[in-house]
């Protein structure tokens, strides 16, 4: 199964002629498409070759070559390796590329992000505004010639600090003593903030009927709101209690993961990935090391592969019990189900703490293995959890919640997403599978040693909030099954290939590593130019892209349902905003 490749059988360069060519740079793959024909190419890929799922879209700033590149990873929703194609345009403002929102609606937020951070203008995008930073922010920060206020050097380790070990506070050397910089000629007193007029103008207003007039009001939920799972904001137009239109507003936790990641060395990025989806740090580690291992061409030893699977599946359980607990919170069962969930989570966190040294920010995986072996007695503890404790507790959850009348009445038929919509909006993880698309990367494009385990892909067929809950329940069970097999099969041996290194050598090239994280497809797109630091480091964040479908799911529902629909997507803001 794993050996089977799904590469297109037709040579795309022959099919499309002059305007599609193979990417022949060393270490790169896929096709380079002329910008003018991009939409036609993507439409043909989708309709003729079955690449109906846009996995990832991002830009790369090739400053030395004077080029901007937009990289697309598309997949078949039936499974298989992704296909890569790129568009290259000159790096002169305005940098414009045709928008693919008409072909893949899931491109909407990703294109907005590329506009925000890289200044790539997507022609034909319905709502091209900044998404992570605010309107009026100075410059496009991920461009290689854009420097932040605390800029010291292009790459770490900074010479001022290493190897002498000097410590200084960068703000002490700056005029304002803090992390701010202003363009020349800027006058704060005459400056008018752009504010959010564009956001509110974009919220759709339905023409009012003549004889019966109701007022539509705009309500902001968040960024400080108990139901938004962090600093997330929804601007909602309401007709009475019915949601007419909804726009997510994010970026309140934009921590510049990618900019910092491009200054860091490869190894330094691992603890940063912990803080993406902070509920499931080990999955994030896993995705990142897979991407860099692809570039380096190393493979971890058997024991490390098993440890990775055990840890990633424990993480999935942690995430899903927490998600279910918080989802019940959103429904109004305030905190009691969460207490049950957190009880189980704490048991698993104890395992993480014993194995990795930290409850939440595990920083455990390394290129070619894991940081250290399991401590003595740990396998027995995990075995006890997987065979005795967790299955019983999942059943307990099931008894209390699954057929609870209030849960069913609130959740069934709410926030429906059809399979076609789910694929078109590039949703992933439980959201996609609850809509009847059995797309799980552990099966669809197996990585690590997942092809060895016997487990089922959890699927729902109604695409509603209730099915997303059921899919998560089932995934906990399947994760327990995988752990049960893994703890029986795990061999003895080393846990890392070769010696642990601080500075790894990564050959030039690009790689896209992806795992089925608890929230969905978590991808890391890494471009190396042979230096100790990645040239481009992009995270395909499932929480972020799943939100593309939020407006579609909420329209026509009541505002109270918008809260549980958001809860059913299960976002974590660290990953949404990065």
């Amino acid at each position: 199964m794993a050996e089977q490749t799904f590469a297109p059988t037709v040579d795309l360069t022959a099919r499309f002629g002059d305007w599609v060519r193979l990417d022949e740079r060393k270490g790169y793959e896929g096709y380079v498409v002329e910008a003018a024909h991009l939409v036609a190419f993507a439409t043909a890929l989708r309709d003729e070759y079955g690449y109906d799922y846009l996995a990832s879209l991002t830009g790369v700033d090739y400053l030395p070559e004077g080029k901007m590149e937009v990289v697309y990873h598309v997949s078949q929703s039936t499974g298989g390796a992704p296909l890569v194609f790129k568009v290259q345009v000159p790096r002169e403002d305005p940098v414009t590329v045709p928008s693919l929102v008409s072909v893949y609606p899931g491109a909407e937020f990703q294109e907005r992000e590329a506009w925000d951070l890289l200044g790539i203008r997507f022609e034909g995008h319905p709502d091209l505004r900044r998404i992570l930073m605010w309107e009026g922010f100075y410059g496009h920060p991920l461009r290689k010639d854009w420097h932040e206020a605390y800029f010291e050097e292009e790459a770490k380790p900074f010479k001022s600090r290493w190897p002498e070990g000097n410590v200084h506070r960068i703000e002490d050397t700056l005029p304002f003593g803090k992390n701010v910089a202003y363009p020349k000629g800027f006058d704060p007193e005459t400056w008018v903030p752009e504010g959010e007029t564009a956001l509110y103008a974009g919220l759709q207003h339905v023409p009012e009927e003549e004889d019966f007039q109701t007022d539509q009001i705009v309500v902001n939920l968040g960024p400080q709101h108990p139901s938004t799972h962090g600093v997330f904001r929804m601007a909602v137009t309401l007709d009475g209690e019915t949601v007419v239109d909804l726009k997510p507003v994010m970026g309140y936790l934009h921590r510049n993961h990618e900019k910092i990641g491009e200054r860091n060395t490869y190894l330094m990025n691992i603890p940063f990935t912990d803080r993406l989806d902070y509920l499931s740090s080990l999955s994030n580690n896993f995705g990142y090391v897979l991407a860099v291992e692809k570039l380096m061409g190393v493979k971890p030893p058997e024991r490390a592969e098993y440890i990775r699977v055990i840890m990633a599946e424990l993480t999935r359980i942690v995430n899903h019990v927490f998600a279910i607990g918080m989802f019940l919170n959103d429904m109004g069962a305030f905190f009691t189900p969460s207490l049950y969930a957190i009880e189980e989570r704490e048991l698993i966190l104890d395992v993480f703490e014993a194995v990795t040294g930290s409850r939440m920010m595990c920083n455990y995986m390394r290129f070619g293995g894991v940081a250290r072996d399991l401590p003595p007695g740990m396998l027995e503890r995990i075995r006890d959890l997987a065979f005795n404790r967790l299955p019983a507790k999942v059943d307990e959850f099931d008894t209390y919640l699954t057929n609870n009348e209030i849960v069913r009445v609130r959740a069934e038929g709410v926030g429906v997403l059809t399979p076609e919509q789910a694929i078109a909006y590039s949703t992933c993880g439980p959201v996609l599978r609850a809509s009847g698309v059995p797309y799980d990367l552990r099966r669809a494009d197996p990585y690590g040693i997942y092809d060895r385990f016997d487990f089922d892909v959890a699927v729902g067929y109604h695409g509603d909030v209730y099915d997303r809950y059921l899919v998560r329940m089932e995934e906990i069970r399947q994760s327990i099954r995988i752990i049960q097999q893994a703890v029986q099969q795990i061999p003895a041996g080393p846990v890392i290939e070769g010696k642990q290194q601080y500075q790894v050598r990564v050959p030039a090239g690009e790689a896209y590593g992806r795992v089925e994280g608890p929230k969905g497809e978590l991808g890391f797109y890494v471009v190396s130019n042979g230096q100790p630091n990645p040239w481009r480091y992009h995270v395909r964040a499932p929480s972020f892209i799943n939100l593309t479908a939020l407006a579609e799911m909420c329209k026509g529902n009541k505002v109270a349902d918008a809260v549980i629909i958001l809860g059913s997507i299960d976002i974590v803001l660290g990953e949404t905003d990065r």
Binding site: W134, F137, P141, F176, V180, D187, L253, N256, Y278, I342
Partner: protein, 212 residues
């Protein structure tokens, strides 16, 4: 409880010790406040998850009378800044702080809220919430464990014990000044610093950066 409440030197019969206490006004006032600090239900990032765990059954914030998390700033006494403060979020945080009724306290939870943390160099990250708000307790860690947060809250209780009605700012005459809400310009702007900003942006001379 009465033991910590009683002023020294008064001999109260044993059978009355649970009922009668002779103490100062400051003491009983602080004793009441320290044991019913209501934190604001306000999570920013990773630290918020550990804050939730602290409130859950294993660590049980209720032992300190702090389990009543209020989503509204009007009803809360303590703002636990639990996570990275970004520039985009900062105006809201300051506004929430201004909306809290006095006496109010701020606890900077974790490395990010205390000083920027691992993300300090980021272009959208504020190097510690104390650049804008007065912070009472800093809790180190990334994220701090629930034990560390509990320790920080106990430190806050100690701080409350030290306060006197005569000296605390919120019983001074007149209303207290709100903190000016930062404005999102090309970068975050503190309204108190407009003059300083203009010196750098409108002067023809480029300020020399000190290198060390």
């Amino acid at each position: 409880m009465s033991e910590s409440l009683n002023s020294p030197g008064y001999d109260i019969p044993e059978e009355l010790q649970g009922t009668v206490a002779i103490t100062t006004l400051d003491r009983i006032y602080n004793w009441g406040r320290r044991n019913s600090i209501w934190p604001m239900m306000f999570g920013l990032a990773c630290c918020a998850i550990e804050m939730i765990c602290t409130a859950a059954s294993r660590y049980d914030l209720a032992r300190f009378g702090m389990e009543v998390m209020r989503p509204s700033p009007r009803q809360s006494d303590l703002m636990i800044v639990s996570g990275t403060v970004t520039k985009k979020m900062l105006p809201q945080i300051v506004r929430l702080y201004n909306q809290m009724a006095e006496p109010r306290y701020v606890l900077a939870m974790g490395a990010c809220a205390s000083g920027g943390g691992p993300f300090k160099e980021g272009y959208n990250v504020v190097s510690g919430v104390d650049k804008y708000l007065p912070v009472d307790v800093y809790v180190p860690g990334c994220p701090p464990t629930p034990q560390a947060l509990l320790h920080g809250l106990m430190k806050l209780q100690e701080k409350i014990d030290q306060q006197s009605i005569k000296e605390v700012p919120w019983y001074k005459k007149g209303p207290s000044e709100p903190i000016p809400v930062p404005v999102l310009g090309p970068d975050i702007m503190d309204p108190r610093e407009y003059e300083k900003i203009k010196q750098f942006t409108l002067q023809p001379v480029i300020p020399v950066q000190v290198e060390d």
